[in-house]
C-alpha cells in the first residue's frame, strides 16, 4: 500500500513538474526570442557574420521569386548593388506590396540551409519597406 502510494506520488510529482517546466520553458523561450536585439550589419560584410546571429540591415530588393512554401527575395547593397543576400520569407511574412526596387530593412536569423547562406525573418514586423530610405 505504502509503495503504491509512493509510486503514485512519484509519478504525479514527475508529471506535474514536467508539465510546469515545459510550459514555463515555452514562455521563457518565447520572451527570450523577443528580447534579442539584432546586430546591425551591411550586406557587404554579412558573409563574415557567424551563422545563427540575429542581424538587421538595409538594402534594395533585386528580385522576388517563389521558393518552396514561401519566397526567396534577393536584397542587394543599396549603395553599390554588387553584394546581395537571399532572404527567405514565408507567405505570411512577405509584404503584399513588395516589388523589385523597394528599399527594405530586414531583421532575421542568419542560417546556412543546404550549403547556402540565408537571412530568415520570423514575423511580418521583421520586413519593413522604407521608400525613400532613411539615412
Amino acid at each position: 500500500m505504502a509503495s503504491r502510494l509512493m509510486s503514485w506520488i512519484r509519478k504525479n510529482v514527475l508529471l506535474t513538474s514536467a508539465i510546469v517546466i515545459a510550459i514555463a520553458g515555452l514562455i521563457v523561450l518565447s520572451l527570450g526570442a523577443r528580447a534579442v536585439q539584432p546586430s546591425p550589419v551591411s550586406i557587404s560584410n554579412i558573409s563574415s557574420v557567424k551563422e545563427g546571429e540575429f542581424v538587421s540591415f538595409l538594402g534594395v530588393v533585386q528580385s522576388v521569386s517563389p521558393r518552396d512554401s514561401g519566397y526567396s527575395v534577393a536584397v542587394c547593397d543599396s549603395s553599390s548593388g554588387k553584394n546581395c543576400v537571399s532572404v527567405l520569407m514565408a507567405r505570411s511574412i512577405i509584404p503584399s506590396t513588395l516589388i523589385p526596387g523597394d528599399y527594405v530593412t530586414i531583421r532575421g536569423g542568419l542560417k546556412m540551409y543546404l550549403g547556402h547562406m540565408f537571412v530568415v525573418p520570423s514575423q511580418p514586423a521583421d520586413v519593413t519597406i522604407v521608400n525613400p530610405p532613411s539615412q
Binding site: A18, A22, E51, S69, H116, S122
Partner: protein
C-alpha cells in the same frame, strides 16, 4: 573513383557512429577540400549513404537520434530491452537491401514523372497534411476521450515548441537539442531497466520472420521517401515516418523497416530531384550542386551507382560493427554508459547552441517524459515538426 568512394564510406561510418555529428558537417568538410569536384561529389554521396545506415547503431543501442534516425530510437530501444537487438539490426539491414532493390525499378519512373507530379501536389499539400495530422492523433481513440485529449496535449505542446524555436533568433540549429531532449535525455531520466543491456539473442534468431510483410512495408517506405523529395515542407524522413506509423502500429521491427526504407529512398531520389527539378533536398546534394552544378543524366547515374555501392557496403558494416558494439556494451555497467552519454550529449548541446540550446533541451526533456507518464505514444512529440509545417503551408 575508387579512392573517393572508399574515403566517403569511411567518413560516413565515423560520422554515423559518433552521436551528434551531423552528416551535413561531413559533406561541408569534404566540399571545401582541395580536390577534383567530381571526386569530392562521389565522396560526399558515399559518406551520406554510409551515414544513413551506420547512424542506426547509436540510435538503436544508445537511444541517441539524429534527424534521420529519430523515430528509430523508440522501437530500437524496446527491442534491445527485449534482447532483440540483433533482430533490430537485421530488420534494418534487410530493409535497406530491399530498398535498393525496389529503387532499381522506382528511380527510372521518378526520372520521368517527378516534374509533373511535383506541380500537381504542391497546391494541396497544406490541407493534406492537416488531415493526416488529425488521422495521426486518432490513433489514441482506443483509449477513449481521455487518451485522445492526452495525445492532443502532447502533440500541441510539442507543436508549440516547434513554433517557438524553429525560427527563433536564440539558436540557429534547434533540431539536435530538441531531439536529444525528447528521446535521449528523457529516456536516461526514466531509465530503470537495471544496470546492463540484457543479453541479446544470436543472429540465428534474428532473421525477419515475415519477409512478405517486410517487403510490403519497405516498398511503402521507399515510396514515402521518394515523396519526401516532392514535398518541400517535409524535408525530414522522420516527418513522413510519423504519418506512416498508424499503418504499422504496435510492431517495432516493421517501424524500423519503414524508417530505414524512407531514409534510403529519400536520399537516393534526392539525386534524381536535383537533376530533374533542380531541388536540393539533402545537404549532400546541395554540396554536389555547389561543386559541379545541376548534374546531367550521365553524372546522376554515376552518383546513383556510388550511392548503391556505398549503401550495400554499409549494410555489411552495419552487421559487423553492431555485433562488436553489442559485445562491448553488454560487458559494461549501463549506468556508467548513461552517465558518460549524458555528459557527452550535454557538452555537444552546449557546444552547438550555447545556453539557449541547453534551455531548449531541458524543455524538450520535460516534454519527452510526458508520453510514458500519460500513457500515450511518444510519436506525438513529432507535432514539433508537423504543426509548424502545416501552419506554414496553410498560412
Amino acid at each position: 573513383m575508387i579512392i573517393p568512394l572508399v574515403m566517403g564510406i569511411i567518413l560516413g561510418i565515423i560520422a554515423g557512429l559518433l552521436p551528434g555529428v551531423h552528416p551535413n558537417a561531413i559533406s561541408y568538410l569534404l566540399g571545401y577540400m582541395p580536390a577534383d569536384s567530381m571526386d569530392l561529389s562521389i565522396a560526399i554521396i558515399a559518406s551520406a549513404a554510409a551515414n544513413n545506415i551506420l547512424s542506426l547503431i547509436p540510435a538503436i543501442f544508445l537511444f541517441v537520434p539524429d534527424t534521420e534516425t529519430v523515430l528509430s530510437v523508440l522501437p530500437g530501444h524496446s527491442m534491445v530491452q527485449s534482447g532483440l537487438g540483433r533482430r533490430a539490426i537485421a530488420v534494418c539491414g534487410w530493409a535497406a537491401l530491399l530498398s535498393l532493390l525496389f529503387l532499381v525499378f522506382i528511380l527510372p519512373v521518378s526520372f520521368i514523372a517527378l516534374p509533373s507530379v511535383y506541380s500537381i501536389i504542391r497546391p494541396v499539400l497544406g490541407p493534406l497534411l492537416a488531415a493526416l495530422a488529425i488521422l495521426f492523433l486518432a490513433e489514441e481513440r482506443t483509449k477513449g476521450i481521455r487518451g485522445l485529449a492526452k495525445g492532443a496535449f502532447v502533440f500541441l505542446l510539442a507543436g508549440t515548441l516547434g513554433i517557438v524555436v524553429l525560427d527563433s533568433p536564440l539558436l540557429s540549429e534547434p533540431l539536435f537539442p530538441v531531439f536529444t531532449g525528447f528521446f535521449a535525455f528523457s529516456s536516461l531520466l526514466l531509465s530503470s531497466e537495471g544496470t546492463s543491456i540484457p543479453k541479446q539473442e544470436g543472429w540465428s534468431a534474428s532473421m525477419p520472420v515475415r519477409m512478405r510483410t517486410l517487403a510490403l512495408v519497405v516498398l511503402f517506405g521507399v515510396l514515402l521517401g521518394v515523396a519526401a523529395d516532392l514535398l518541400p515542407a517535409l524535408g525530414s524522413p522522420a516527418q513522413l515516418a510519423t504519418f506512416g506509423s498508424p499503418l504499422i502500429a504496435g510492431d517495432p521491427s516493421m517501424f524500423l523497416a519503414l524508417t530505414t526504407s524512407i531514409t534510403v529512398g529519400h536520399s537516393a531520389n534526392s539525386l534524381v530531384a536535383l537533376q530533374t527539378i533542380g531541388k536540393e533536398r539533402i545537404g549532400a546534394t546541395a554540396m554536389v550542386n555547389d561543386l559541379i552544378g545541376q548534374p546531367n543524366t550521365e553524372i546522376t547515374v554515376v552518383l546513383l551507382a556510388v550511392f548503391f555501392i556505398a549503401t550495400a557496403v554499409s549494410i555489411a558494416m552495419l552487421f559487423f560493427l553492431s555485433d562488436i558494439f553489442m559485445r562491448f556494451i553488454g560487458r559494461i555497467d549501463l549506468r556508467k554508459v548513461n552517465v558518460v552519454l549524458f555528459i557527452y550529449l550535454l557538452a555537444a548541446v552546449l557546444y552547438t547552441g550555447g545556453l539557449a540550446a541547453v534551455l531548449v533541451a531541458t524543455v524538450a526533456t520535460a516534454m519527452g517524459v510526458l508520453p510514458p507518464l500519460l500513457g500515450v505514444r511518444r510519436t506525438h512529440l513529432m507535432g514539433f515538426l508537423i504543426v509548424p509545417t502545416v501552419l506554414a503551408l496553410v498560412a
